[in-house]
């Protein structure tokens, strides 16, 4: 089994979904298809170098989807208001772990936390080369980032959509975070 296949089955097991695509253009098409399928009319995205290559803002606007790229020049109040009402939040991701289906997202300028937390659909687009095999690899990388002083702000490790089992131990989705999570892994940049 490839690392991607392991990642996909781990993520599906917790209620998420993963696909891999050959390049940034196909990633853009996949994200757009996911938004249209769900009737999303407004989306907010990280200012991420890979997302910038997907042609997404233009393609989304052509499909009548209002699109905000949360670059540092945008007023934080506007980012929060849009994230609170948008149907989808599109982010990059710093790492992914095949064994558990986990994503690692570091906050920063152009990478607001609200984008992956508030909208009901979270789509993460990242290069396939950032996919690690197992949990020990994740902690080796996090340890390296910690020593380099790069864990400032927020680190979110996300494994599937938001859930709860607080009523009768029955698992439900979409508690406080997104109810759906789609991960798009891009093979060639």
């Amino acid at each position: 089994m490839t690392d991607f296949a392991i990642f996909q089955s781990a993520l599906v097991a917790v209620g998420g979904a993963a696909i891999h695509v050959p390049g940034p253009a196909e990633a853009g098409a996949a994200v757009l298809a996911a938004l249209r399928e769900r009737g999303v009319t407004e989306a907010i995205a990280w200012a991420d170098p890979l997302l910038a290559q997907t042609g997404l803002p233009a393609a989304a606007r052509a499909a009548s989807i209002t699109w905000l790229t949360a670059d540092p020049a945008v007023d934080p109040a506007e980012i929060r208001a849009v994230a609170a009402r948008a149907g989808a939040g599109i982010t990059g991701a710093d790492l992914a772990v095949a064994e558990t289906g986990t994503l690692a997202l570091l906050s920063g300028p152009g990478r607001p936390r609200s984008v992956n937390l508030l909208p009901p659909l979270h789509v993460a687009v990242l290069p396939l080369e950032r996919l690690l095999a197992a949990t020990p690899d994740l902690f080796r990388e996090l340890s390296r980032l910690a020593q380099a002083g790069r864990l400032r702000g927020a680190l979110h490790l996300v494994t599937g959509p938001s859930r709860s089992a607080d009523i009768e131990d029955v698992v439900i989705r979409k508690m406080h975070g997104p109810g759906e999570l789609l991960v798009v892994l891009v093979e060639r940049l």
Binding site: S107, L117, L118, F139, L151, A154, T159, I167, H176, G177
Partner: protein, 463 residues
């Protein structure tokens, strides 16, 4: 209410007992499944030993780790406060909120805020303080205490919750978990967006980076730390871990043991305030590190209780907890960890030590090797017995440490108990033994005691 009265009250509630039995069994089986898989991969023993070692490393060098954590938080624009007592911690939080002009507070799940009674104190000060974990929100609306460390509302059914939401939120909700959760999401989302301050506990505090690490499935800790302008974390001083590398065994074992998940949905680490250019995250960050009876355990044999990572698996394994549930204990921390920890933090609660049969199932299943039943036994030994009990034990020791006295008293016992023997058991026991015998069969003294049989046996084999 005495321990005994509380237990009778809990045992009389059939549907609550059934809910607790089902929930504890479910998470116990899920944990066993995960542990079996780790064991088959040859990793379980090494992970548990490693987890214990990193907990001990932090506890043995507590002062050093705390200093390192404090410097790292300050470097990220936050501030660490030390609170010697629960009252000091509450006052500290109130002062921070007042200075920041914060009136609306959202809270993520935290046992330590239960321990210090924070929400009641905030409400008494006229602030709005809302629990956002679904289970905690439910019991806050119901005005109850958590019944389990990881599942605070596990004792309530979907019908209880639907009735509660209808009564308190003024809308009729179908008694379906997903529908109930949707209502809670809508109500609490508005509160998250309006909150001035977010209060969290901590699963771990990483000294290396000054990170507050929070583990949830719902994402409520993420919203609590991302949206309000003030963030306050309250954590017991035992939550420190030295490095990110040291988190590996802990974050590998915690979700697998607590809920049977490979990984919790959200693991969030907050290091410092909103960084330049960031659109969200707290502008002000405070970490209140609580002593409240913990520091005096450092360097003693009881220090081992501070290894606990609050996974709740000792509750699920405990034959006492599975019968009486968290409310039978009447304390914030219930189950074996509650019995071992609470009397160490507060000597007035040593009555809890009786809620244990010393079976050891808790110790066997603890991911970080807290020697739970050994600690409980040692604490029982430190407890002072009453004068009557001490006199009785001395008399007993005197009578049975001499063969002649032993034979005489056992013959005497056989005679005086004869009228109360039915089918090989005593039907009546005197005084406090009567209470002990309510749920147990006390065998009648043998018609021919071992001493006499032994003598006869001697004659048979050596004629």
């Amino acid at each position: 209410m005495s321990v005994r009265e509380r237990i009778r009250r809990e045992l009389a509630q059939e549907s609550k007992r059934a809910a607790i039995a089902q929930a504890t069994r479910g998470s116990y089986l899920a944990k066993l499944d995960q542990w079996r898989r780790l064991a088959e991969a040859g990793r379980l023993t090494a992970l548990r030993d490693w987890a214990r070692d990193v907990r001990d490393e932090a506890l043995n060098d507590h002062a050093g780790q705390l200093a390192k954590f404090t410097r790292a938080v300050a470097a990220g624009g936050g501030q660490v406060h030390l609170a010697a007592t629960a009252e000091a911690a509450v006052q500290q939080v109130l002062a921070i909120l007042q200075n920041a002009g914060a009136r609306r507070v959202v809270k993520a799940k935290s046992m330590v805020t239960e321990e210090i009674g924070l929400v009641h104190a905030l409400e008494a000060a006229g602030l709005e303080a809302l629990e956002t974990d679904l289970g905690e929100y439910i019991i806050q609306l119901a005005g109850e205490m958590p019944s389990h460390i990881t599942g605070p509302a596990l004792h309530l059914t979907r019908h209880d919750v639907a009735a509660l939401f209808s009564a308190r939120l003024g809308e009729t909700v179908e008694p379906e978990p997903q529908a109930l959760a949707a209502v809670a999401r809508r109500v609490l989302r508005a509160k998250f967006l309006a909150a001035d301050a977010g209060i969290t506990g901590a699963n771990f505090l990483v000294a290396e980076t000054g990170s507050v690490v929070l583990v949830t499935n719902e994402g409520n800790a993420d919203l609590t730390t991302a949206l309000p302008r003030v963030m306050i974390t309250i954590a017991g001083l035992e939550k420190l871990v030295p490095t990110w590398a040291a988190l590996e065994p802990l974050l590998t074992l915690l979700p697998r043991t607590a809920t049977g998940q490979n990984m919790t949905t959200y693991v969030t680490a907050i290091a410092g305030t909103r960084q330049p250019g960031e659109a969200d995250g707290p502008e002000e960050l405070h970490v209140v590190v609580l002593d409240a009876g913990r520091a005096k355990l450092l360097g003693t044999p009881q220090q081992d209780v501070l290894r606990c990572i609050r996974c709740g698996s000792c509750l699920d394994a405990c034959p006492v907890f599975r019968q009486v549930g968290g409310h039978g204990y009447g304390t914030v921390y219930s189950g074996p960890i509650g019995v071992a920890l609470t009397p160490l933090l507060n000597p007035d609660s040593s009555g809890l030590l009786d809620l244990c049969s010393l079976c050891g199932a808790c110790t066997e299943g603890c991911p970080v090797h807290v020697p739970l039943h050994h600690l409980i036994r040692a604490e029982r030994a430190m407890r002072k017995a009453g004068t009557g009990e001490r006199l009785l034990m001395r008399l007993w020791a005197w009578a049975w440490s001499d063969p002649a006295r032993y034979r005489f008293t056992s013959r005497l016992l056989r005679l005086v108990t004869r009228p109360f023997v039915r089918a090989g058991h005593l039907t009546w026991l005197p005084g406090p033994l009567g209470e002990w015998g309510r749920g147990r069969d006390f065998p009648a003294p043998a018609a021919k005691p071992l001493h006499e049989r032994w003598r006869d046996l001697d004659r048979e084999v050596e004629p």
